[in-house]
């Protein structure tokens, strides 16, 4: 790499232990025609430099909304309360100009469908140099050189030729590589990958994940993996936060989480993951029922109606996310026992 970019002082503070991203009591509500939708209901998360946090949950759990809130990319109908600090900068209520200066330079993002997240009528190169020149005072020529370097960095074959191609001329995996190159164009301290490998086939998925982790190590980035896939989190993340109905319901270092699941919802998610060890044609345990209506704010635990362990107390009182074992937090009154293996209490 010939072009060196000065690390941004705002995100990389002198204290190496200070978190890169701190989300505190984040609440996001959407105004719809007839109701308020409480999509995120008080989320706390932290990400340190060089660390990978997986945010896991089914559709509507608020994981994507949380990530969009960090980027300030929510639609106008959304109201954001709470605190999101990127380094030392407060992102909630940031003006458009400051926000723009931040996006791409301090935090980058890649999305689920690489076929849709690149502009179909613009050349790869122009989409990449745009990301560079928005933030860095570079000539067209310099930006071009940097762009080709970036394409080589994400291991896109024949980067100089690809520079002139359009998204439709690339395969899905290659498009996602281009997206990564765009997100990392200005070497942000934090990268948010929103279901970044969901639309790809399994082989490509592994390649993209390896590339992401490799680049994360190289640049000591914080990485947030947003996914519904527990398996992905287990293989790649340092820490896992499970979200349900707009709240974090369990959080622990990955290994601890997999070995000692406490929250019945997390257990149900793990059980619903297809596994090779399962006997063929055995029905896959599914989580019965639907995620709760986000327009309603119930006093009890949001998962209680679908929970096999729920009792009377769960209907009236909401368990807080508390550190009940070292570095392991969960929000449940009747957690799963330690010795139960995944799926055991159902059989």
């Amino acid at each position: 790499m010939t072009t060196q970019i000065q690390p941004d002082t705002a995100t990389r503070t002198a204290d190496p232990d200070a978190p890169l991203l701190t989300i505190e009591n984040l609440e996001v509500t959407f105004r719809t025609r007839d109701a308020l939708v409480h999509a995120v209901r008080g989320v706390d998360l932290t990400v340190h430099a060089g660390q990978t946090l997986a945010v896991i949950g089914e559709s509507g759990s608020g994981k994507t909304v949380t990530s969009r809130a960090v980027m300030g990319l929510l639609p106008r109908t959304a109201t954001v309360r709470g605190s999101i600090r990127l380094g030392e900068r407060q992102m909630v209520g940031l003006g458009e100009k400051e926000l723009r200066r931040c996006l791409g330079r301090e935090v980058g993002m890649i999305f689920q469908d690489p076929a849709r997240s690149l502009n179909p009528t613009m050349r790869i190169g122009n989409q990449l140099t745009e990301a560079i020149r928005v933030h860095l005072p570079m000539s067209r020529r310099q930006a071009r050189e940097r762009a080709v370097e970036l394409l080589a960095m994400v291991r896109l074959p024949a980067p100089a030729r690809r520079f002139h191609e359009y998204p439709h001329q690339l395969s899905g995996g290659m498009r996602q590589r281009v997206m990564i190159a765009i997100a990392l164009a200005c070497q942000p301290g934090l990268l948010i990958a929103d279901e970044a490998t969901t639309a790809l086939d399994v082989t490509t998925q592994a390649q993209i994940m390896d590339l992401l982790l490799d680049l994360q190590q190289r640049f000591a980035m914080g990485l947030v993996l947003i996914s519904h896939d527990m398996g992905l989190a287990a293989s790649y993340a340092d820490q896992v936060a499970v979200m349900y109905a707009g709240r974090v319901v369990e959080r622990a270092p990955t290994r601890r989480m997999i070995a000692h699941v406490r929250m019945p919802y997390t257990r149900a998610l793990l059980d619903a993951t297809p596994r090779l060890e399962r006997p063929p044609h055995a029905p896959l345990p599914v989580i019965s029922g639907r995620p709760p209506d986000l327009r309603v704010l119930d006093p009890g635990c949001a998962f209680a109606p679908r929970c096999s362990r729920s009792q009377d107390r769960c209907q009236h009182e909401r368990p807080e996310l508390t550190e009940r074992e070292p570095r392991h937090e969960w929000a449940c009154f009747f957690p799963c026992a330690d010795d139960s293996l995944p799926g055991e209490d159902e059989r």
Partner: protein, 356 residues
């Protein structure tokens, strides 16, 4: 590495124009002639145009014959005796059977001879040569004016959907779509010709007498036509941009890069909206060349619309036929140009892969 396989850009493209079996039939000769998608679109469309233009002339010929009276009656007036009419009809070859006359006309037209006017024996090509530039200028000016105003208006409106500029823009364009262009023309005349006395109310000045005077004469009629077009384009373009801004992931990508919101709107959304705009502009351009009758009449412009109206009233079949041929060619031609522009502008078609 599974994702290093490129899709071959040289794969034979699927035709963009296959609305019916006829097109499929014509696709084969086109494929023999050209490999580039643009060339093939062009060839297919030109081949398709032949039956369209021929059909238009035949139907017009039939309709003209169904109308009561003929050119002889029109020339001689109501007081003429049946003998006079019969004599003139014979002299003008109007007494021949319908099909014979049509085939005669068709044979001559195919050799480039569109015949002479039954009214004054003037060559039809000369009449066309006078009328076509007038209408063409009017329509081109109207389109240019409409697009010039509609694009910025739509962009500003789409910047803040439901905002002040958006509401004003949408109100004006809704109003404009519901007012017929001749009513709007009258208002324009009232303001600029009668009230302010800055522009002429009627009359045409050929370009040969200077661009300035020519444009002065054209401004009001062109504006009258442009207004409705402007309203439609503004609405279509605004809706398309707003839709993209809400829905498309590449817009979010651009925002996430830190690109400013105007830049996102213009560089990313407007760029993709060009295609929906192109479609309606292309469809209307061909059709509009003949539908300016009322405006040309009001402003005394000797264009195609006015000429066609006169020719129909005097049952001047050769002139009517010639106008119809030209208008049909314009419709087909405008569609062809639209398709070609797609092929040039959209990289997905340009590189020979059908758009997703």
């Amino acid at each position: 590495m599974s994702d290093t396989l490129t899709r071959s850009p040289g794969r034979p493209p699927r035709s963009q124009s296959r609305p019916n079996r006829l097109a499929g039939l014509l696709d084969r000769p086109a494929r023999l002639l050209g490999r580039s998608p643009a060339v093939r679109v062009a060839i297919t469309r030109v081949l398709q145009a032949v039956p369209v233009v021929w059909g238009a002339t035949f139907i017009t010929f039939c309709l003209m014959n169904l109308l009561p009276g003929n050119a002889a009656v029109a020339l001689l007036g109501d007081d003429a005796t049946p003998e006079q009419v019969a004599a003139l009809s014979a002299r003008l070859n109007l007494d021949e059977p319908f099909l014979i006359r049509y085939l005669q006309w068709l044979g001559n037209a195919l050799t480039g001879d569109l015949g002479n006017s039954l009214q004054n024996n003037e060559p039809v090509t000369a009449i066309l040569g006078r009328a076509l530039p007038v209408s063409l200028e009017l329509v081109v000016l109207a389109f240019a004016l409409a697009l010039l105003v509609a694009v910025p208006t739509a962009v500003v409106a789409a910047k803040r959907p439901g905002g002040f500029a958006d509401r004003i823009g949408m109100q004006v364009s809704m109003f404009g779509l519901s007012v017929p262009n001749f009513v709007f023309a009258l208002v324009l005349v009232l303001i600029f010709a009668v009230g302010l006395r800055v522009l002429p109310a009627v009359g045409y000045v050929p370009i040969a007498q200077g661009i300035g005077p020519n444009l002065r004469a054209m401004v009001l009629p062109a504006t009258a036509i442009a207004f409705a077009l402007f309203c439609e384009y503004t609405r279509v373009l605004r809706a398309d941009i707003v839709d993209q801004m809400l829905r498309e992931d590449y817009i979010t990508t651009a925002r996430a890069k830190g690109v400013g919101s105007w830049q996102v709107l213009i560089r990313h959304a407007l760029r993709n909206s060009v295609f929906s705009l192109l479609t309606i502009v292309g469809l209307q351009f061909g059709a509009l060349i003949g539908s300016t009758v009322i405006i040309e009449q009001m402003f005394g412009l000797p264009g195609m619309g006015q000429g066609l109206l006169q020719a129909i009233n005097s049952r001047d079949i050769p002139v009517v036929q010639a106008y119809v041929v030209v208008m049909a060619c314009f419709v087909v031609g405008a569609n062809l140009v639209t398709d070609l522009l797609y092929a040039v502008l959209d990289p997905r078609i340009r590189h020979g892969r059908p758009a997703a």
